[in-house]
Assembly symmetry: C2
Homo-oligomer: 320 residues x 2
């Protein structure tokens, strides 16, 4: 544990390479990574965590790059975590995002990391939440988490942010419909990026209509027009983000939100581990293959098969 | 069990009220519902299950209504299952869908059901899969399952269909971007509904571009233009659906797909039950509240808290 101790100390001092190494450990599900999070956890909770969600192509990475510039000019240090669930057949998205952030690569006070692991069940959101904690522990004052709003893992991650920003562009008809139908959650701040498009104002009217139907809970969701690629609208966006932060601190919703999120994180970690144990047990169990054959032959229904394997798993667990 | 036996017999005879009652039992997580699925499961596997996904507003319900009419004219019986995850603050979507299907309400050979339960964890997809099995057992030859493509529960359900249809409309820019980035799966059949819009052909060109990038796996994904509200394009769509069915039967991918889906269903049921047991145990456990307080106070990290509660849960389980 001597090596791990040294890593924790360097991480807490803000060492960039120590942070990179630490995140790789949690991404690889290495026990040393979890041990490290355990050690540095008392030093977390200071960063302002902002989640950015929205369809691919809406310009989230460009927007985050512009916000990073603004935060650096204000003397703050920044961590950026991009969750990229794109399939193996298109590597373009990930590479493109990194290029958009490249102006910050040499800045010692900016740390950028992409995670694309689709491997372990629930693995991506678990690892991403730990990575955000590690950035926080290493002293990053702002942590920007970016995901496309598709899939439960990404929704889980974004739910853990203090402030959620939805980034749309003119043409984001499906997202507007999803907000209208109530299948997508109303964010804290809305951004219309690529706002030089002639349909921007029509879109803003549609969004106003949707927001007027949502229940009012004290915070009025602002709509900010940006052209991130030219840096336009970034200052007003920074102001709205700061206002939201001040609001949740003043109202006490920040600590409420964090308590709820930490509860969900503990349950999600426990649930993912339970399921992983179950899958490991089953992969070696000839009885599972036999039960599955019976289900495929329509001799045994799926729920009864699930009950049988649960009983076996519990018996197996308690005889360990 | 006498009552339940009678219900199973009536369900297998195609009695509409017995089917409605049976689905309510699984939706309520009533043990009698699971018992019923167990009894009738040997009579399932005959229906052709087609899943329809796509953004809210793309006209899935209208399309399914038109397809139901076509299937009834061909003398087939139809079950329709709509999964509606819209939030409590907008009840519009659900009600609208039912109105679009209303012409079939009095037809004894058509059974329509909406499910909107957001309650129990994993409950919606579990219950929906059982409901589809019950429709199959009651002799419905075509089962149409409709979801908006948002959220893991809906994706899980649609994955269990034999054929997956993605329904878009002109303006579905976000969905095109998601397909392009590889974060949304390529379906078996694509429909552009509301195809009287001037931007339809531009959209079809974009989709062709996306499809040309995807790996070719023998089946060429057809793009069908429809105006479901006027019944246009429905016959060509029926032909494409039948061709896909013939293809997966001839290639053996139907049985492969069903085996994989049944495996996932058994694992998902087992996983959901494990997690539910854990949540039940925790809700009564003062130690969990104590652990959570320590996490909130940054004295104990989330992963260590998860490990502690897992150990307690397993000990609790084996001492039952």
């Amino acid at each position: 544990m001597a090596g791990s101790d040294g890593l924790a100390a360097r991480l807490l001092e803000g060492d960039k390479r120590a942070l990179a190494r630490a995140i790789s450990l949690v991404e690889d599900d290495d026990p040393a990574g979890w041990e490290l999070v355990r050690e540095v956890y008392p030093h977390t909770g200071k960063a302002s965590v902002i989640g950015f969600t929205g369809p691919p192509g809406s310009g989230k990475s460009t927007l985050i790059s512009a916000l990073t510039r603004a935060r650096r000019e204000a003397g703050r240090s920044v961590g950026v975590l991009s969750i990229d669930p794109s399939s193996p057949f298109t590597q373009g998205a990930l590479l493109g995002d990194r290029i958009r952030l490249s102006e910050h690569f040499l800045d010692a006070e900016v740390f950028i990391r992409s995670m694309a692991n689709r491997g372990a069940l629930g693995g991506l959101s678990e690892a991403a939440l730990q990575a955000a904690l590690l950035m926080d522990a290493s002293g990053k004052q702002d942590v920007f988490v970016e995901t496309v709003g598709v899939g439960q893992a990404e929704v889980d991650v974004i739910d853990h942010a203090d402030t959620v920003v939805l980034v749309l562009m003119p043409g984001s008809g499906d997202s507007i419909q999803a907000l209208k139908a109530g299948v997508m959650e109303i964010p804290d701040v809305m951004v219309i990026n690529k706002a030089d498009h002639p349909l921007t104002d029509t879109m803003i009217r549609e969004i106003r209509g949707v927001l007027s139907l949502a229940p009012q809970r004290g915070w009025r969701v602002p709509i900010v027009k940006t052209e991130a690629i030219r840096g336009e609208g970034i200052d007003p966006l920074v102001e709205r983000l700061d206002e939201h932060r001040d609001y949740i601190v003043a109202e006490g919703t920040l600590s409420e939100r964090r308590r709820r999120n930490l509860r969900n994180e503990v349950l999600a970690l426990a649930g993912a581990r339970l399921r992983r144990r179950l899958e490991e047990q089953l992969s070696e169990d000839p009885e599972f293959a036999r039960l599955l054959d019976a289900v495929v032959e329509r001799k045994l229904d799926p729920a009864s098969a699930a009950s049988s394997i649960l009983e076996r798993a519990v018996a197996d667990e308690s005889s360990r």
